[in-house]
Symmetry: C2
Subunit: 549 residues, 2 copies
């Protein structure tokens, strides 16, 4: 890389481009924006989480990273912070709430003491090597989010972060139009803009519509109200508190992550709940049901969440009673629909009235829809447009929308993670080579060792289970020292399969005897696979040990 | 059961009530409605399909089943026909297209010759023991669907089947309002009505809106058009043929199920495609792209489908080229979102323009929304209302809707699969006991042997894989006859794990030597599990064979 060009690389995210991490590089000087993780999809068993594959960048020994800037406190922007700061030991910049959430993660991973966490306020300007970063407030579904105006030697580039345009947000702090207009006046080389909802026409509703929906539900509810939402959705927790206040109910917080986030957000002043409104779960149990609101996690049907344990009747403190109202104040994330549906059905089975979208508008998206995306483009008036934070399908729609607003087709780049975009001092954008900037699996204590081969093996094991066979054969005398031992897992219901296993043992004996000098192990495995296929139609993994002594 | 009462039992379906099968029983005489299957959800690895658990009914030796009536040709109403007819060897009644589809299944399962498949036309009246069944046409997303007016000694009960109210269906054959009105005049004891879309306000759009959407897409497409839909969605195939005709393109059918269905539907007169319009896939390859439409399956991202193979560049005849337009004329079934999204992204990656809802209205649901459900209730004016064909969440919404229309709360029954509903000759409905009428897994050649224990083992195997250990130890001399053998699957990447496996072998040697007379196997398994957990954070299933000779 020569010094007179800016290189921008989106990194990580399962299919979403630039969601977890982006690098802005000028010469050998860089800033990193976001350090997030993804949760595994349904066909990725055993994977704990997924982080950006930034190895191509950390291996570049002369690269000087001046800062890791985190745009907001959601997992997909913060969850890989310990991995990223280990690879790039630069200061981490974030707004107060985001700092609070990062601190928890860094402490958990024992990286807090070695990290340099620098707090800024939206609107602050950060001088970072050759970059001057103008931070600006944006609305989203967690407070204290920022976008970035990154002034570089080749021009000003704007990164929206995750955003929506909400004129009546819960915290009364709308997206910073003045700063966006100022960027436009200064002239914007490129806009990198959130594409999540590029398939949705119109405007995303304001968070304020939730208040009215809560009013309708609260006014009808005769018994307890249990509201489930994301622990990070601080503004929703605020709306629940307000509704509880309006309807003269006390509020209990169930679950660790929700309690921790409420405590931190109250300490930092992002959440206003009068102390006398908050009660413990034990107190909630003893109050009349119509005086209680319980707030909890579990909107995605996660088995260990409070809501799922309530649905299964396995919560240590509460059980769902006839007359309870459960509000699910979130949408299922794609891939979680089955789990969410089962949770709803089980809650209904236990007698609860369950309220969710579209029954009532108890949730709105935190991302801009098409009309807001248009407004962003027209406020910023960039020369080049790069849709980010979406899969190819959303990026493509966002690109088409930008083209309809007059940005020339050739000035729009739809790229994938790892693809390098360069901006020259002559003000030209070029799509360059693609680096291995996808994602890696974290499974247990190891990062990146689980690849397609292991995943394929796991899939095969999950499909039909496993059979292991052990036999000890005394070749010289032609006798078996023990009866062939057969163990199965995930293959058949053994108590009902005595005949099949007897037949399997006979086959093992026969094959071993006949082929005492041959390739016995694979012959045993083949013979058993054949038997199992013909008798059960299943294809378990078969391991055989033929010990000849 | 006494003879003066009608018992109705919904059976099977994963969470959907009465979707796959329903039994109507008077005394010991019965008719069965539908014989369908479900596909496994994401956390059911290895399961091929799922059928209703009708064993409680087939074990009732004095039960006389007069008929199995199939309301329409979709898998969730036909897919278990071979299992059902084996348990209940009664005649199977269906309309011509449904008969055609059933014939294929029965022949595949070698049950056609022993089955008695009786064809009727919508509007026909069937005399079946104590039941007189008035069949009536309903619109849905496959032609030739019926609902049933079942006249019983205790009164008339109406079963809607899957339905929507489409005033401009593709085949010009609207839902039979006259018959429904006639039922109302005769007086309806109970209505069993399709709840699938009970969460959707308004009206489901008519199939005819697809024509306009196809016009918009076809008029813009410069190259080939590839349309993916369900093989059973005959009316959509008709609409594709009409659009191809309007835009002077020829049409090729890709894939076996699509070709078979097109052939049958044309033979039976449900599909009008001029012979000169149809071309082979080879001919399609040689025509200019702007003259070709290819129709194929794969809307759910199924890996073996034509669309998925195109997306992965693994189709034997076609590849996706820059300029191709792909239309996905279906919605993802819940649980399939991830696969569908990946397919869309991959098609875009290969240069296709991909059109799907909500980009264009290229699909509409085949089920009634709330306004249609209201119309059905008000046309039929039943005394009792029983929502079916939905999960508890949809049934609950449908029940609330019926109550708003004036059906008394106590005259509405939301029940689950297996629950018996009885209607007495005095015109009373009672919710009775719940029979084991859920579902059973079919895995390979076996039905019903895979239960929760096996599924749990499969989940554990999938999560962290398996390790098997074999060692032969000569106790008398205290020596190992072979080096401990360790095989892993789905656990670690073995080429990178030599040190870990060496350590594992040393541990095995040590434990075996120290405990030559003890419970060596479990001690080895424990020691290795501990090692793997501390070194990798993973918990594979460990099997050890310690052969002492």
């Amino acid at each position: 890389m020569t010094t007179n060009r800016l290189t921008v690389i989106p990194i990580g995210g399962l299919g979403e481009v630039g969601k977890n991490m982006m690098a802005f590089i000028y010469g050998n000087e860089a800033i990193i924006v976001d350090a997030g993780m993804m949760f595994p999809e349904n066909d990725m068993p055993g994977i704990d989480y997924i982080i950006p594959d930034f190895r191509f960048l950390s291996q570049q020994s002369d690269l000087k990273v001046h800062a890791i800037i985190i745009t907001h406190g959601h997992e997909d922007h913060t969850g890989a912070i310990s991995h990223v700061v280990q690879a790039f030991p630069a200061p981490i910049y974030a707004t107060p709430l985001t700092c609070g959430l990062l601190e928890v993660k860094l402490k958990r991973d024992r990286r807090f003491d070695s990290s340099n966490l620098i707090r800024f306020e939206a609107g602050d300007v950060l001088k970072l090597g050759p970059f001057t970063v103008d931070t600006f407030h944006v609305c989203h579904s967690i407070p204290d989010c920022v976008g970035l105006g990154i002034d570089t030697p080749v021009g000003l580039v704007v990164h929206t972060g995750d955003f929506k345009i909400d004129h009546t947000p819960v915290d009364n702090w709308p997206t910073d139009f003045a700063k966006l207009a100022e960027f436009s006046r200064r002239g914007v080389l490129a806009l990198f803009s959130d594409s999540t909802n590029a398939e949705r026409p119109g405007w995303t509703p304001s968070e304020s519509v939730i208040d009215a929906a809560f009013d309708r539900v609260f006014s009808k509810a005769q018994g307890r109200i249990i509201i489930s939402t994301f622990a990070s959705l601080i503004s929703r927790i605020q709306q629940v508190a307000w509704a509880a206040q309006r309807f003269d109910r006390k509020m209990a917080i169930a679950g660790t992550s929700m309690s921790e986030n409420v405590r931190m957000a109250r300490n930092l002043g992002y959440l206003e709940i009068p102390p006398e409104m908050l009660i413990s779960t034990d107190e909630a149990k003893n109050l009349p049901p119509e005086k209680v609101v319980i707030i909890a996690t579990g909107t995605q049907g996660e088995p260990s969440s409070v809501l799922s344990r309530l649905a299964h009747g396995r919560h240590p403190v509460f059980s769902i009673d006839e007359g309870d109202t459960v509000i699910i104040s979130a949408h299922p994330i794609p891939g979680n629909e089955e789990m969410v549906s089962r949770t709803i059905n089980r809650l209904i089975q236990r007698g609860a009235a369950v309220i969710y979208e579209p029954i009532e508008q108890v949730h709105v998206s935190g991302h801009a829809s098409q009309e807001e995306q248009k407004l962003m483009i027209n406020l910023v008036r960039p020369k080049y447009f790069v849709p980010i934070h979406g899969e190819l399908r959303q990026l493509t729609q966002h690109a088409a929308l930008a083209e309809r607003l007059g940005i020339p087709h050739e000035n729009i780049a739809v790229v994938e993670n790892g693809t390098t975009l360069t901006f020259t001092s002559e003000g030209q954008m070029k799509v360059g080579e693609r680096k291995p900037g996808g994602y890696v699996f974290v499974d247990g204590a190891r990062v990146g060792d689980v690849g397609p081969a292991i995943m394929r093996d796991r899939e095969i094991l999950a499909r039909d289970g496993v059979v292991v066979v052990n036999v000890v054969y005394q070749k010289s005398r032609g006798v078996f020292l023990t009866e062939p031992e057969i163990i199965t897992r995930g293959f058949i219901f053994q108590p009902d399969s005595a005949a099949l296993l007897d037949e399997a043992r006979q086959i093992v004996r026969k094959v071993v005897k006949q082929n005492a000098n041959g390739n016995t192990v694979s012959l045993v495995q083949e013979a058993l696979s054949k038997l199992f296929a013909s008798q059960t139609g299943r294809h378990p993994v078969v391991f055989a040990f033929v010990n000849e002594v």
